[in-house]
């Protein structure tokens, strides 16, 4: 009798479904993973790239070099030989150590000066990190009900994992799940993420960029970018699209769902608008970005606001001319509220490991 075929994909899907169900039932506490992460982080050294002062301090500590030459040995006579050698060469050792230490001290001093100048620049031109954290608190427009159908249709039939970044309250994520798409969410705000997790959705509480960096190149069948693309500074948006591109499998889909810049401006208080570190891009800009990265089959779908100026009745003697102008003014005032841009990563592009 032939052995049954081992369907590991099915087993994996069942395991993930069980995890989702147990989360939804409250059996798995939402904060459990985060608590583990935080606990391990307590025992980890600070990330060098995150903390400039800590990195320079470490460099300064490393400057103090050991002057005592190790002379111990298990082999008879070798210890004595080493001690004699150390005595004879001690003056040279001290000479070299002093020069290396002086070089190290000079470099770290220069680094400190450079750090001070960067601090000053950040103070005068706006601190990116602060602006980003202020911006993250601003609730982004989430027009999921409008996008849901278009995004779901675009992703139906995707074979492989789909990352929805940021997944917010999980409306889009749930719709994708119902359509049979193997989607999971990434959401940096744990309060929002916990609500989605409690609803049984698979959501990673993580920064979008940090999460995508951790994903292996070519590992995702599709990436949906939403939320964060409405508030990131332009430089970070460009980094994000490059990162997402590399994480896509050849032939994978990149989907951008965003409110339009006009609708974003209308929907903000002046305080929110002024403190936001970035603005949404136009749909045509996204199309250009994807074209530049050799994406195929780029499609854009815009959604109207529903608001418009009332045209004059056709009985009005100048209705034709006036209504044309009213239409133009209406378009300028209300325009589209949001859009979805979809592009396919070319199959021939080699996978990078950046």
């Amino acid at each position: 009798m032939p052995e049954p075929v081992l369907d590991l994909q099915r087993v994996r899907r069942e395991i993930e479904a069980e995890v989702r169900a147990r989360r939804a039932a409250g059996e798995y506490p939402p904060g459990f993973s985060r608590d583990l992460d935080e606990l391990f982080a307590r025992f980890s050294p600070p990330e060098a790239s995150d903390d400039f002062d800590a990195a320079v301090e470490r460099a300064e500590e490393a400057i103090s070099m050991e002057l005592v030459i190790p002379t111990a040995s298990n082999k008879p006579g070798v210890g004595l030989f080493k001690r004699v050698l150390a005595k004879l060469l001690g003056w040279y050792h001290v000479f070299v150590v002093q020069q290396v230490s002086a070089l190290g001290a000079a470099i770290t001093h220069a680094l400190r000066l450079l750090g001070n100048r960067v601090d000053e620049l950040e103070r005068t031109s706006g601190h990116t990190e602060r602006a980003r954290s202020e911006g993250a608190r601003i609730p982004a427009d989430r027009d999921d009900a409008t996008w849901e159908g278009v995004v779901t249709r675009a992703l139906t039939g995707c074979t492989g994992r789909v990352a929805v970044c940021e997944s917010g309250d999980g409306v889009l994520l749930a719709a994708l799940g119902q359509a049979g798409v193997d989607a999971y969410g990434v959401e940096p705000r744990f309060v929002v993420a916990d609500a989605a997790i409690a609803a049984g959705l698979e959501v990673r509480v993580d920064d979008v960029v940090g999460h995508l960096r951790a994903v292996a190149p070519g590992d995702l069948a599709a990436v949906v970018l939403r939320g964060c693309v409405e508030r990131l500074p332009v430089g970070e948006v460009l980094d994000l699209v490059d990162l997402a591109t590399v994480r896509l499998a050849p032939g994978g889909l990149l989907v951008v769902a965003s409110v339009s810049p006009e609708a974003w401006g209308r929907g903000r208080t002046s305080v929110e608008a002024d403190l936001a570190p970035g603005r949404p891009l136009h749909a045509s800009t996204w199309a250009a970005l994807l074209t530049a990265r050799e994406f195929d089959g780029i499609e854009t779908q815009a959604f109207a606001t529903g608001d418009h100026l009332q045209p004059l009745p056709s009985t009005h003697p100048d209705a034709g001319v006036l209504n044309d102008n009213i239409t133009r003014i209406s378009e300028a005032l209300f325009g589209s509220s949001s859009y979805v841009v979809v592009g396919r990563r070319p199959i021939s592009t080699p996978t990078s490991t950046s």
Binding site: V11, I15, D37, L39, P45, Y184, D219, T351, T353
Partner: protein, 361 residues
């Protein structure tokens, strides 16, 4: 007679690439090439198997090729770059320096140097050999013109040949008799192997599936700072009685761990090949692994590959495998079948074919 000499940073008995160098030498010699090993450093008991790399003068008078093995920054690479002989690069992967940046800053320079040297060698190399398609991809990114995959020459028949240490077997089976399953991971204690993520998943497993389970982490530490953090993490989780960070062990002790393990769990973020997967396959231990770097390629469909390291998912996967005898048996069988694909003789033939096509006989 044509000579293909190997140049290696270190020839040591405890790592898989050390055995690979010797197997390459044997395969090349058997194919009729003259082949010596030149090393920066050779450790006992291999000291007499290698010559100092600077002693190579290339005055043999025969057509000579240099095969450089890349796994870390080394002065040997600079030496090879400075020679006139044509070069073959055998790439065993260099752990990205970013994994070590905050744990062992002094290692970062050496790893970064290794990557720079690998890039420089692209111009000189007539052929790039890689242990895995994953590694081959990295060579192609560096614009190596000709790249071939030759699995690491590892004699799978030697796995488990040493009898399991009876004292260790006794200790482990005594613990098992009290209940609870045994998780195992074998590999250097290193940030890229992410043992802390295994501990997280294990913590979830103990809490939600099997409160008596045990975790065994075998392997020497390549980062003392990471090891210290891992130990503190285990203590803070109150798991010091359940998590055994055993460090380096003998072959006999390692086989004892494999013989008593219920699941082999991998959460590595970066592996160039992952030889312990083959060991787990040999011992019939079902494998649950995070699908990253070369792990999916080595494992194939002989284990449960997970796209996420979410502790609940990893714990749930282990619980599923251990709770379903049919699945457990099927995975063990798939592992043994997969192991057959890493047959040493076949890999040696591939190596000799690739080298022969370039060098001639």
């Amino acid at each position: 007679m044509t000579a293909v000499h190997q140049f290696v940073p270190t020839l040591a008995p405890w790592d898989a690439v050390g055995g690979h160098y010797l197997a390459v030498q044997a395969a090349l010699r058997e194919a009729g090439y003259r082949s010596d090993i030149y090393a920066h450093e050779a450790k006992d008991p291999y000291k007499k198997r290698a010559l100092p790399y600077r002693s190579f003068d290339g005055t043999g008078g025969e057509p000579t090729w240099l095969m450089y093995h890349s796994s870390i920054g080394s002065p040997v690479a600079e030496f090879v770059l400075g020679r006139r002989e044509p070069v073959i690069v055998d790439y065993h992967n260099i752990t990205p320096a970013s994994f070590y940046a905050r744990w062992e800053p002094y290692v970062v320079g050496q790893l970064a140097l290794g990557r720079r040297q690998l890039a420089k060698l692209a111009v000189r190399a007539s052929l790039g050999l890689a242990d895995s398609a994953y590694n081959a991809g990295e060579l192609r990114e560096l614009e190596y013109d000709r790249v071939a995959v030759v699995p690491i020459l590892f004699d799978t028949a030697t796995i488990g040949r040493t009898a399991a240490d009876p004292a260790t077997v006794n200790r482990l089976t005594t613990a098992k008799a009290r209940g609870g399953s045994d998780w195992l991971f074998v590999g250097r204690v290193s940030p890229n192997k992410a043992q802390h993520d295994i501990v997280k998943a294990f913590a979830a497993y103990r809490r939600f599936h099997d409160p008596d389970a045990r975790l065994h982490l075998l392997g020497s530490a390549s980062s003392d700072a990471y090891l210290t953090s891992l130990e503190k993490f285990v203590i803070a989780l109150d798991l010091e009685d359940a998590v055994d960070i055993a460090g380096p062990v003998t072959e006999a002790e390692k086989n004892a761990y494999y013989e008593t393990a219920d699941a082999f769990v991998v959460c590595s973020e970066h592996e160039g090949f992952c030889v312990p997967l083959l060991e787990a396959m040999h011992h019939g231990v079902p494998i649950v692994a995070y699908a990253a770097a070369a792990v999916p390629e080595t494992l194939g469909s002989a284990g449960l590959l997970l796209p996420s390291k979410d502790p609940f998912t990893v714990a749930g996967a282990v619980a599923r495998v251990l709770g379903e005898p049919g699945l457990r048996t099927a995975l063990a069988a798939a592992g043994r079948e997969r192991l057959g694909r890493f047959d040493l003789a076949a890999s040696c033939r591939t190596l000799v074919t690739e080298v022969g096509a370039l060098v001639g006989s």
